[in-house]
Symmetry: C2
Subunit: 382 residues, 2 copies
């Protein structure tokens, strides 16, 4: 029983997305598919807030990050990587695996990067090809300030590449306005579709860089992928994940029907409610309020208690599925996802289940999590 | 209207596969998903006819080919590539993109490679790291003799890597018995699932090679992918295409319920029926009978007629979707797919539609395609 999926991805699918994803296969080189993909990419561009191409690779989000490195870098290039958690480290590791000299701007897990540290890194490495930043660090629930970082990077020749896998469509990210060169996201987070596709937006500067970058690439080639992506009819060079594209088409349509500003407001409201709820139970969120991600909340376990016992009971006894910690936070935090198609009911059920389970595993017996959350859900703009 | 999907992939999905693929998302790090993936990979190993690991990458089949190169080769390695069509060329191009010295064993489109030509190439390049072969060349409908090629390659230190994207589960391919080191397939062909996953089997020899191969890799890393693929519970390093795994689990179950020997016999029978049918219309298959792929039949257009007119009418007037030619065969052939979940009814409908449309676009007005096919369908073992 997984009644309430409260993960930072995959997120629950709305009924119409499930139905769309369950349609029979069609020719991925035929006009019907070409129109669906073109419409989907048009909607994606609006959600990315970019006029530039958005490229649909059949892959996990990690594949999109690799595609960015493979298209922008040459062997030996210097890259500045903001490392504020598991996913920041991963992005840096990918760049390193492909032969980049990686200058890591490391901040303690649970903190956001100070944008001035990026300025300093670019002073140390003025020839850096790119700056890699994780927008919503899914391991800690911290949001890095991409707008401020972009303003700094834009004063240098470096490209800004943002891992927005768990943020795009949940947290404001204005690619063109802020001057972000490459934004990478996944289908299975705020976009309300199943995993299987990664979307990558590419600015003009990044296109120009990709034309001279010398890392080998074939599957991830931006140029190959872009070739037949026309506005009215779009086709991919290799057979795409057709069912995921059907689903993402429906997910983006739903997102646009709600309105992107309302979607962001909904995520802010729910994130505040969750933070109030866990605090009512005497628990402490990892991220400070001012740089908390609206996509998920990582929460410290009470001293001496292991997250696994909590997560197992939540799942088995309450049908509530949350995630554990990663790396140095394994066992020490649980992560409450609240992005994409998440209902107030699910969030309240998650808080209620926490309240019920915590005392049974030796944790605090506080009450009032649902009330605290309800209060915010009732007052904040819906 | 795409009533009859007669492509060499994607292929139509059986009802239970559609239903499985439409299940709600679950935690890809939880026990329920771990069991489904482990079961799916167990079934895949039986269909690959291997005791070795089968790795599930979220990607198109082309991604699986790239993964093979990235894990087995070092920059400057020599690789022998059999080029007997579009997909053989693609595999060679991938190896070249990653810095391999590619010795192309090119045969005219429409012919299978003579295994002796592979022996000769390995004599010229005795230090070749790998031999790349396309099993069913989807651009021409030709089947290369992988068993004979394997017997030759096994006498050398080279690894044998087979692109079985459109053959695995349709045409016999005994990975371990024949000594094929790496087999790559896609979910959307004979395995009756939607596109989005590529499966890659890896022999012990290939594992050993991957441990010293120096091409950069991260997303495609065999070692990273294998790490948590246990028999009872399997997990992937990056969020996998959960819905496609649900579907592939159901597709493989269906394939095993039918029995792999019967599945191969069914494909042989249908392929013969299609060839008889198109010949009754005065058309000529591209491949000779003795090396025709059982997955699809590429057919020459009558002189002076363009395939596009035929394909458009088939689709619009009859709901029959076939594929056009690629590369030098564009416009000059149409490709009739008959692999995976293809029914006698669909094959007969395809032939009937060809019979109806051909005279209307200035082609032969022959009749009897369905009768010729029915005769074979009635007599050959079901």
């Amino acid at each position: 029983m997984q009644r309430y999926l409260l993960l930072p991805g995959p997120t629950p699918l709305p009924d119409e997305v499930l139905a769309a994803g369950a349609r029979q296969m069609i020719n991925h080189r035929g006009p019907e598919f070409g129109r669906i993909l073109a419409e989907m990419l048009g909607a994606a561009r609006r959600v990315f807030m970019t006029r530039h191409p958005v490229l649909p690779f059949t892959a996990s989000g990690t594949g999109g990050l690799e595609a960015a490195i493979a298209n922008l870098c040459s062997p030996g290039d210097t890259v500045v990587a903001v490392c504020s958690g598991w996913f920041g480290d991963r992005f840096a590791d990918i760049a390193e695996a492909f032969g980049a000299q990686v200058l890591r701007v490391a901040v303690p897990w649970g903190e956001a990067v100070d944008p001035e540290a990026v300025r300093e890194a670019l002073r140390v490495a003025p020839g850096a090809r790119a700056v890699l930043v994780t927008h919503s660090e899914t391991s800690t629930g911290v949001r890095n300030d991409v707008a401020a970082i972009a303003a700094i990077v834009r004063q240098t020749p470096a490209l800004l590449v943002v891992d927005a896998v768990s943020s795009l469509g949940a947290i404001e990210l204005r690619a063109d306005e802020w001057g972000v060169d490459v934004v990478v996201t996944g289908s299975q987070k705020a976009l309300m579709a199943p995993p299987g596709l990664t979307l990558v937006s590419v600015s003009e500067r990044a296109w120009a860089a990709s034309e001279t970058a010398r890392l080998p690439r074939y599957y991830w080639s931006f140029a190959r992928m872009r070739k037949d992506l026309k506005d009215g009819e779009a086709f991919t060079p290799f057979t795409p994940a057709i069912g995921v594209i059907y689903a993402l088409h429906a997910g983006l349509r739903r997102l646009e029907a709600e309105g992107i500003a309302r979607v962001f407001a909904r995520h802010r409201r729910v994130a505040r409610a969750v933070r109030a709820g866990v605090r009512a139970l005497g628990l402490r969120p990892v991220a400070r309020d001012e740089d908390a991600s609206e996509a998920l909340t990582a929460v410290w376990m009470p001293d001496g208690l292991d997250a696994k016992a909590l997560l197992d009971r939540l799942r088995v006894e309450h049908g509530v599925v949350m995630a554990g910690g990663q790396g140095p936070m394994a066992g020490r935090v649980f992560r409450f996802g609240h992005l994409g198609y998440v209902s107030d009911e699910a969030v309240l059920a998650g808080l209620g289940a926490l309240e019920a389970v915590l005392p049974r595993i030796g944790g605090p017996a506080a009450r009032g999590a649902e009330d605290a959350a309800r209060e915010i859900l009732a007052t904040a703009p819906a």
